[in-house]
Symmetry: C2
Subunit: 421 residues, 2 copies
C-alpha cells in the first residue's frame, strides 16, 4: 500500500543525528537543547521544513510547541496528535523525544506520499519542554496544551535568573497568550507517542517494539536514619548505632521486597547521603531516597508499606531513629484500553510478536492524558541506555515502528469509519 | 602520704575548662586550638604558669612543645615523660589531650607539695600538634622529639598557604633548630600518657579508669564498586547492576565479619560515596572506605582478607566490578609490658578493678614509642563522646586517674631503686 523503503528507519535516525549536534545543541561537546534557547529555535526551523515537505501546514503555538497539521478528508476534523518532546537533558541522547517527533513526520509522509487522507486530521507535535532541564518544572508544554499552565508559571526562573516570561518574549512569543496553547477536548481525537524504551526489557526479549499499557505510578520516599556518630577505633562493634549500616540494611530490604514483588514493581535507592565521609567516623546520620514505581498505585503502595515496616524494624533492632517523608506521589497513567488494543494489533500486523509493557519513566503522554485518550509505542534501544551520548537505536527497529504507526492510523481510521457509519 | 584533696579531680577539669574558651580558642563559638596559633601561644603562657607553680622549670622546645621539668634526687637523671597534646581539632572537646597535660602537672604537684623527689626526673610535656588540624600531617611534635621530623616538613602548608617554617618563625621559633627537639634515648626513661578513652568501653563496664595495653593496628581500604547507571523507572529489578545495593551488601559484610571476630576487632564503613544522588538514577559507582583496627596486625589482616573475599563474592554475584586500594597501613604499637604491669598495679592500688583495653584511636604514645617504652591510662568519658563540645569527664574519675599516676610514679621509683641497687 505504501512505499515502505528503508527511509522509514534510516531517515528518522539520520534526522535525529543531525539534530544531535550544533547548531541544534547549545554545546559542542555534548547534546544540550533546553527549552526556548537558540538551539531550540534552530531545531524548530529545520523541523518545520521537514513537516512542510511531508505535506503539513505548520504553526508555532504560544508555548513554543511546533504543530504540523495534515488535514483529514474533511476540514476541521478532530486531530490525532502524534508526537513527543524536542528538548533534551544536558548531555542527552539523540533519540529521547526527537525520535517520536520524527516518527510522526514519517507517518504523515507515508500517507501524504500516496495522497491518502484519513477521516481525522493528523497533527505532529514537537513539545518544547518535557525534561524540565531549563526551568524548575517539567512537561511545561504538554501540560500547556491541556490548559494546565497558568500565569504563575511565567515567574519560573532558569539558573541564570531568566524568567519563563522573558524567555518566551526572547523567543518571539507573547507570554500573555499562553492560555491559548490549550486545546479544546473536541479538537483532539487521541494522542500517540513513540519513544525509545530507555530500559532493557525489549532488548532482553529480542523485540523491536512494544506496546505501552500505561505509565507507572511513582512514589518517592525520604528515609532518614539517625544513630550517633562515633570514633571508628574506640567504639566496639556491639556498642554502635551506625547509621550507614542501618541504611545499608534498608537498601537491601528495598531491593529484596521489590525483586519479590510484581514484575513491573521497581524500587531504587539512588540517593544514599551520609552526613559524614571520614574513614574514622561512624556515621550518625544517613538520608536515603527510595523511588518506587508500579503499573498501578495499589501494587506500589503495598510495596511502600512493606518497605516502611521493614525499615522501621531495622531501625528498632539497631537502636537508631527513623523518619519518613513522602517527597513525590504521582498516580499511574493508564493508556486508553481501546488504543492499546489497536496498537497491539498494529504491532502484530507488521510482524512483531505483540508485547505489552509498562513505562517506568514519565512521558508527555502523562500530561496529555488529561485532554484525550493516549497510546504509546516503545522502541528497543541499545542496552537501555538513555540520557547519554551512547543512546542508540537500530534502523530496522525504527522502520518497524514507523510501519506500526501507519498501521495504527489505518486501523483507527477503519474503526472510526465503522463507528461513525 | 600525699594530701589527696578533691583538687586532684576538680582542678584538672577546671583548668581544661578554662582552656576550652577564648583566648585559648581561635573561635568564640566552639573550641579550636590549632598548632602555632595565637590561642596556642596564650595556652602555653598559662600552662607555663601552672607548671612553674607546681615546682617545675619550664622550657619551650624548637617545635613548640612545652616541657616542665621536676628534677629527681640527682641532677640530669633520665626523665619520666608525662604528657599529651595541647592542640584540638576544630570544634574539639576540652579534655582530649589537655587533660593528660593537666594530670601530669597534678602528679608533679602531688610530689612537689610534700617535697618528694624520685630517682628520676619527671617532665610534663604539652605536645604542640597531635591532631594534624593545621598542617597536613599529624603528631608532628611527638614525632619531633623522636627525631622523626626532617627539614622537608618545613614546607608543609596550612589551608591559608602558611608554611610550617613561617608558622614557627611567627611563633618566635627558629625553624633551623627543629632537629634539636629530638631527645637522646638515654635522657628519657619512659613516656606515660593519660587520655580520655574517647570510647564507651569503660563506661559500659562501670570503670573510672583502665590500662591501655597498646594502640591498635590500623588499615584503611578503599573499595570501589562499579556497576552501570540506569533509570530507576525503566530497569527491571533483575536487569540491574546497582552499585549502591552492592556496596550496601559490602557494609553489612564488614559489620558481620568484625562483630564475629575478636573483641578488639573493629571495622567501620564511614565513607559511602555514590557518584550520583538522584532518586531516579540507579547508581553506577560507589566508593566505600573501610577502617579496620585490632590490637595486633595478624587479627586485623585476617579480617581484611575475609572482607576482601566477601566483597569480591558480592561483586561477582551482582555482576559489578570491584577495585581495592590500601589507603593507610599502620602497625600496632604495644605498650611496654613492664609499664603495663606497673600501671595495672597502680590502678588496683587506688581501688579500681584493674581492666586492660586496647586503644582504637591513635595517640602521641604511638610516636614516642620510637624513643622509649610507653604506657597509657584511659579515663572514662561520658557516652564515649569526643571531638565535640559534649565531651565530658567526672571529677571523681579524674581524681582516681591522678592518684593512679602518682602510684605509678611511686611504684616505678621503687622498682628502679631495686633495679639500680
Amino acid at each position: 500500500m505504501y512505499a515502505l523503503t528503508s527511509d522509514l528507519g534510516d531517515r528518522p535516525i539520520a534526522r535525529c543525528n543531525v539534530l544531535g549536534a550544533v547548531p541544534f545543541s547549545e554545546d559542542h561537546d555534548f547534546l544540550n537543547r533546553p527549552y526556548l534557547t537558540e538551539s531550540h529555535r534552530k531545531t524548530l526551523e529545520l523541523v518545520r521544513m521537514w513537516m512542510t515537505a511531508a505535506g503539513m501546514s505548520v504553526r508555532l503555538d504560544p508555548l513554543g510547541n511546533l504543530l504540523g497539521r495534515y488535514e483529514g478528508t474533511q476540514a476541521n476534523a478532530p486531530a490525532l496528535l502524534i508526537g513527543s518532546h524536542i528538548d533534551t537533558v544536558r548531555n542527552g541522547g539523540r533519540y529521547d523525544g526527537a525520535l517520536g517527533v520524527m516518527l510522526g513526520i514519517e507517518t504523515v509522509e507515508a500517507l501524504s506520499s500516496v495522497g491518502r487522507r484519513m477521516p481525522f486530521a493528523i497533527e505532529v507535535i514537537a513539545f518544547g519542554d518535557e525534561e524540565g532541564s531549563r526551568f524548575p518544572a517539567s512537561m511545561l508544554c504538554s501540560r500547556g496544551i491541556v490548559g494546565g499552565i497558568g500565569e504563575e508559571a511565567l515567574a519560573l526562573e532558569d539558573a541564570d535568573g531568566v524568567s519563563l516570561r522573558q524567555a518566551l518574549l526572547d523567543f518571539g512569543l507573547d507570554p500573555t497568550d499562553i492560555a491559548k496553547a490549550a486545546r479544546r477536548p473536541g479538537e483532539v481525537l487521541a494522542y500517540v507517542e513513540a519513544h525509545i524504551e530507555q530500559g532493557p526489557v525489549l532488548e532482553a526479549r529480542d523485540l523491536a517494539i512494544g506496546v505501552v499499557t500505561g505509565i507507572a505510578a511513582q512514589l518517592r520516599l525520604k528515609a532518614r536514619f539517625i544513630g550517633e556518630a562515633g570514633h571508628a577505633g574506640t567504639s566496639p562493634m556491639g556498642l554502635r548505632t551506625d547509621a550507614i549500616a542501618a541504611a545499608a540494611a534498608g537498601v537491601l530490604a528495598v531491593e529484596q521486597i521489590c525483586a519479590a514483588g510484581a514484575p513491573d514493581l521497581r524500587g531504587t535507592v539512588g540517593r544514599f547521603l551520609p552526613k559524614t565521609a571520614a574513614y574514622n567516623v561512624i556515621a550518625g546520620e544517613v538520608e536515603m531516597g527510595v523511588d518506587l514505581r508500579a503499573s498501578n498505585r495499589p501494587v506500589r503502595d503495598a510495596a511502600a508499606e512493606q518497605i516502611k515496616t521493614r525499615l522501621a524494624q531495622i531501625a528498632r533492632e539497631r537502636g537508631v531513629a527513623l523518619e519518613f517523608t513522602v517527597v513525590q506521589d504521582l498516580p499511574d497513567t493508564p493508556c486508553d484500553p481501546r488504543l492499546v488494543r489497536v496498537m497491539t494489533e498494529a504491532v502484530e500486523a507488521v510482524g512483531v510478536a505483540p508485547f505489552q509493557l509498562v513505562s517506568g519513566a514519565g512521558h508527555d503522554a502523562m500530561a496529555v492524558s488529561g485532554l484525550a485518550p493516549v497510546a504509546m509505542l516503545f522502541i528497543r534501544c541499545e542496552r537501555g541506555i538513555s540520557h547519554n551520548a551512547d543512546e542508540a537505536v537500530a534502523a530496522a527497529d525504527v522502520a518497524l515502528a514507523t510501519r506500526a504507526l501507519v498501521a495504527f492510523v489505518e486501523k483507527l481510521a477503519l474503526e472510526n469509519a465503522v463507528e461513525t457509519t
